[in-house]
């Protein structure tokens, strides 16, 4: 059941789509096609519970038309990749572009900073991903081993939510009417486990997962199993804690959400729309000067590697935060033009909907202290290992989320805590970061260490 990328369409297919749009009346157009195959297997209590296979493909087209008041555009997508489907899509998108409002700042695919053929070839050499390294049998064996080790970890493990292994690959084609076209493949494999400790009203569940570019680079089933089971057991018999101000240490797994909030707030479109608490923060110190954060499109461990973005713009490494100072808003070509900023190559594009803005690999550079040393320095506080809910206001930065973790007293983990909230404002939270750990950990396309923040409010009993 290996994937069959070689039989999938090549970049000429995307070129044909652009040609069809031009024939149908577009002044400019660009097209994206994605083909994806994948397998996943779930095991529970030692037997296979489900197998799934996906075979997905689609194409998306963006077309610009000239009007008397400037350029207007629309986007459309379909999973019907036949010649008839292609022409229908081209006609549909032109009809829609004609009713769309012209925008004097619209940026059609002309004069874009595309990578050269030589760069495309070099990238292909270095990122030659056409096999995720697993067969269904190997993935099943890994999932079974992972679950078995997790269940055997302790007598307190009472139930299994199962272990999942999945692998797959996709092929992305892009072409634009200014003559650029390219294709690349991506593969990944992932393994996860979720187990339950305790019983009745005292049950606690936790999980661990890892995803990598190739099955051989995954953390071992034992590592993942042990993490999931250890976390579930450590959560047993939680209490609440007193309401009040405290220092919160986000372990890497929960710290990723802070990075997510930052990226939403420096999204160029959010800035244009005044929907960000960092609208006026460019070149300002928003973090302590020890904080450095990169958007790196070419990292050996990153699952977000890319040579060009969703508009065919060459990607580059963006130092987003340099010694605490905000250096860039992430932009596609349109927002870069409107903001009068350099392009960051951050156009993100799926098959449906409009072009968005997104990061590649995000790396929050580690500090010098281990998490243990940070706890010692802080003395009293809360180590947050779980966050739930969506209580973040991107316009104001107001922050209030459900949390769970461990009470820290005199630098030691004392007991598990659950059913509390932590609240503050992201602008202040960013400024009040007191420690950045040395425990840099990768989660797909994000790498982050433990982060400690002073002055959050806990609500508990």
């Amino acid at each position: 059941m290996s994937t069959q990328i070689s039989t999938l369409p090549d970049r000429h297919f995307a070129e044909q789509l652009v040609e069809a749009a031009i024939k149908a009346g577009a002044a400019h157009a660009d097209a994206l096609s994605i083909s994806e195959t994948g397998d996943s297997v779930s095991v529970r209590n030692g037997v296979v519970e489900s197998v799934e296979r996906e075979d997905a493909r689609g194409m998306g087209l963006r077309a610009f038309v000239e009007t008397s008041c400037g350029m207007a555009f629309a986007t459309a997508s379909t999973s019907d990749l036949s010649t008839a489907g292609l022409h229908k899509l081209a006609e549909q998108v032109i009809a829609m572009a004609r009713i769309s409002e012209p925008d004097p700042d619209a940026v059609p695919p002309v004069g874009a900073n595309h990578p050269t053929e030589a760069e495309l070839d070099a990238w292909q050499q270095r990122h030659n991903h056409d096999d995720s390294g697993w067969s269904l049998e190997q993935a099943t064996a890994a999932a079974l081993e992972c679950e078995q080790i997790a269940l055997a970890y302790s007598d307190q493990i009472s139930n299994s939510e199962g272990a999942d292994a999945s692998f797959g690959s996709n092929r992305v084609l892009y072409a634009s009417s200014d003559g650029f076209s390219a294709a690349y493949n991506r593969c990944s494999a992932s393994l996860s486990a979720s187990v339950i400790a305790g019983s009745g009203d005292g049950m606690q569940r936790d999980y661990a997962w890892h995803r990598a570019l190739h099955a051989s680079k995954l953390r071992s089933p034992a590592t993942i199993a042990t993490e999931a089971a250890r976390r579930a057991v450590q959560r047993l018999n939680p209490g609440s804690m007193d309401s009040g101000e405290t220092t919160v240490i986000f372990e890497p797994r929960t710290a990723t959400s802070l990075l997510g909030h930052l990226i939403s707030a420096i999204n160029g479109r959010a800035i244009l729309q005044q929907r960000s608490f960092l609208t006026d923060a460019l070149q300002h110190g928003i973090f302590p000067d020890t904080v450095c954060i990169d958007d790196d499109p070419d990292h050996p461990l990153g699952l977000g590697n890319r040579l060009f973005d969703g508009e065919g713009t060459r990607c580059r490494r963006n130092r987003l935060i340099d010694n605490g100072v905000l250096q860039h808003f992430l932009s596609d070509r349109y927002t870069a033009k409107r903001l009068g900023q350099p392009e960051t190559g951050s156009a993100s594009r799926g098959l449906t909907g409009d072009i968005g803005i997104g990061s590649s690999n995000l790396i929050w550079h580690g500090g010098s202290l281990s998490q243990e040393q940070i706890l010692k320095q802080i003395g009293n506080g809360l180590l947050v290992t779980e966050l739930i809910g969506f209580g973040v206001n991107g316009v104001t930065g107001d922050y209030s989320r459900g949390a769970g973790g461990f009470l820290i007293e005199n630098g030691e983990i004392v007991r598990p805590v659950q059913g509390i909230t932590i609240a503050g404002n992201l602008k202040q939270m960013f400024a009040r970061i007191s420690h950045v750990g040395s425990d840099l950990t990768w989660f797909g396309s994000t790498a982050i260490p433990s982060i400690a923040i002073e002055g959050l409010t806990v609500a508990g009993q």
Binding site: V51, S79, S100, G389, G391, D398, I420, G424
Partner: protein, 452 residues
């Protein structure tokens, strides 16, 4: 194609199309459409299931999908051919017509421009207006292992308004929306679109004057309608069949036991005509139902798809749902709400000595194993001696699903359903849902503000 030793299986064919027009900065500049077609094949044996799907309708891809799905059942011989026949159909709860069929883009565009102008005219502090009309139409054919063929055609529309207001350099946002399983013409007719604009502007300007929310344990009064998200998070997910069969839900051993205060009855009802969460049949072809989950405080029902129902020795409840042919079936909610009680909403608010009156919410989430759930206010007030004092900033409320309904001490006579805005996520799949609630008083919940 199906192995003879399978317990169940089906083919799910879907053709769906969607359209979206969005206005920002005074211009309708995001116009998009998408079309998806494909087939999902499922084979179920005992606790195991195989699922494969393809976007390609070519014979090779279909056979590959069928082989993948049936691999779960082992090496049973092939089943004998079945006669494909139309199953008796449930009465349709919505019209089988593409909601965008009878309205062209220019009418939708004109409406968005009108709403943008209305928002800016309502209040000079309005700086940004986002308005979006989206519609989708899914044509679905389900062919079960026994040859039964079930058809459903599902329209879905939604209008969303969101504004940013600014005063003295301080910005806030407010939003409102609504929709259901009907046509775009109906969505845009009447006063409802203008009402949504008023709501979005009112919420945004209200939040400009919001104080910090309190932090700690206190009584909370929830207003009617969308605050029913409490039920969705606190108990709905915990009563989904898969979690209970596997014993991973905190409600797994509570059937027949008291899990809520007396007087509380909660139902999941997929049969309400034209509502966002309603389904004529679920994604396994089971006619949708009104399932009583809690009756007078006692746990009486789970939400079941065919596989979990069979394994638990129960009847499917019409809650087997999938986001599309590309996703497996899971037991999911439809429209989940609490029936009305006898208390007047005014009396309930007046009973609050010191606490929070929460009228509107953003999203929520639950850990079904520990029962801990959260939901976050988007319109809430601090109340003292039964009188509203001031609006408070968005705060997350946290509680335990198996405890919170035991702490409900008053139930209003004003049951309302939400305006048609709910989307539920589970296992990476999103499906439209509804919720509803009368005004209720919860004696104790943790309010996650910043004023400790």
């Amino acid at each position: 194609m199906l192995p003879a030793n399978a317990d169940d299986g089906d083919l799910y064919l879907e053709y769906s199309s969607s359209e979206s027009l969005a206005l920002e900065e005074g211009r309708v500049k995001h116009v998009s459409a998408s079309t998806h077609q494909g087939i999902g094949a499922r084979v179920i044996k005992g606790e195991a299931s195989g699922h494969a799907y393809t976007d390609s309708l070519e014979a090779d891809a279909l056979m590959q999908a069928a082989r993948s799905a049936r691999s779960i059942a082992g090496h049973g011989g092939a089943s004998s051919p079945v006669h494909i026949h139309a199953a008796s159909t449930a009465p349709r709860l919505y019209q089988a017509v593409n909601p965008a069929a009878n309205i062209d883009f220019s009418e939708r565009k004109a409406m968005l421009e009108k709403l943008d102008k209305l928002a800016r005219d309502l209040d000079p502090r309005v700086r940004q207006v986002f308005a979006n009309i989206s519609s989708s139409f899914s044509d679905i054919h389900i062919v079960r292992m026994d040859g039964a063929h079930i058809h459903d055609a599902r329209p879905l529309v939604r209008l969303n308004i969101s504004v940013v207001v600014e005063e003295n350099g301080k910005r806030e946002t407010g939003s409102a929306g609504g929709g259901g399983r009907f046509s775009i013409e109906r969505l845009l007719s009447g006063d409802e679109p203008a009402h949504m604009v008023h709501e979005a502007v009112r919420l945004a300007t209200l939040n400009l004057s919001a104080h910090q929310a309190p932090a700690g344990s206190m009584p909370v009064v929830l207003g009617p309608g969308w605050p029913g998200i409490l039920l969705h998070e606190a108990i709905g997910h915990g009563l989904e069949g898969d979690f209970n069969r596997k014993g991973s839900s905190v409600f797994a051993d509570k059937m027949g036991k008291q899990v809520a205060a007396r007087g509380i009855t909660v139902v999941d009802d997929g049969t309400i005509a034209e509502r966002r969460g309603s389904l004529t049949v679920d994604d396994e072809g089971t006619q949708s139902n009104r399932t009583v989950l809690i009756e007078d405080g006692i746990l009486t029902g789970y939400l079941l798809d065919r596989q979990n129902a069979r394994l638990m020795g129960m009847q499917p409840t019409g809650n087997g749902r999938r986001e599309s042919y590309a996703h497996p079936v899971l037991p999911r909610m439809t429209n989940t709400f609490m029936l009305a009680g006898n208390d007047s909403p005014d009396d309930i608010l007046a009973s609050l000595d010191r606490g929070i009156y929460a009228v509107n919410f953003g999203g929520g989430q639950v850990d079904i194993t520990s029962g801990k759930f959260v939901f976050t206010t988007s319109e809430a007030y601090y109340v003292e001696n039964g009188v509203i004092q001031y609006p408070v900033k968005g705060a997350t409320l946290i509680g335990s699903g198996h405890e919170v309904l035991q702490k409900v001490s008053m139930i209003g006579n004003d049951l309302a359903l939400d305006p048609g805005v709910g989307t539920c996520g589970k296992g990476g799949q999103s499906v439209p849902v509804g919720v509803g609630l009368p005004t209720i008083r919860i004696d104790q919940l943790i309010v996650g503000g910043t004023e400790a």
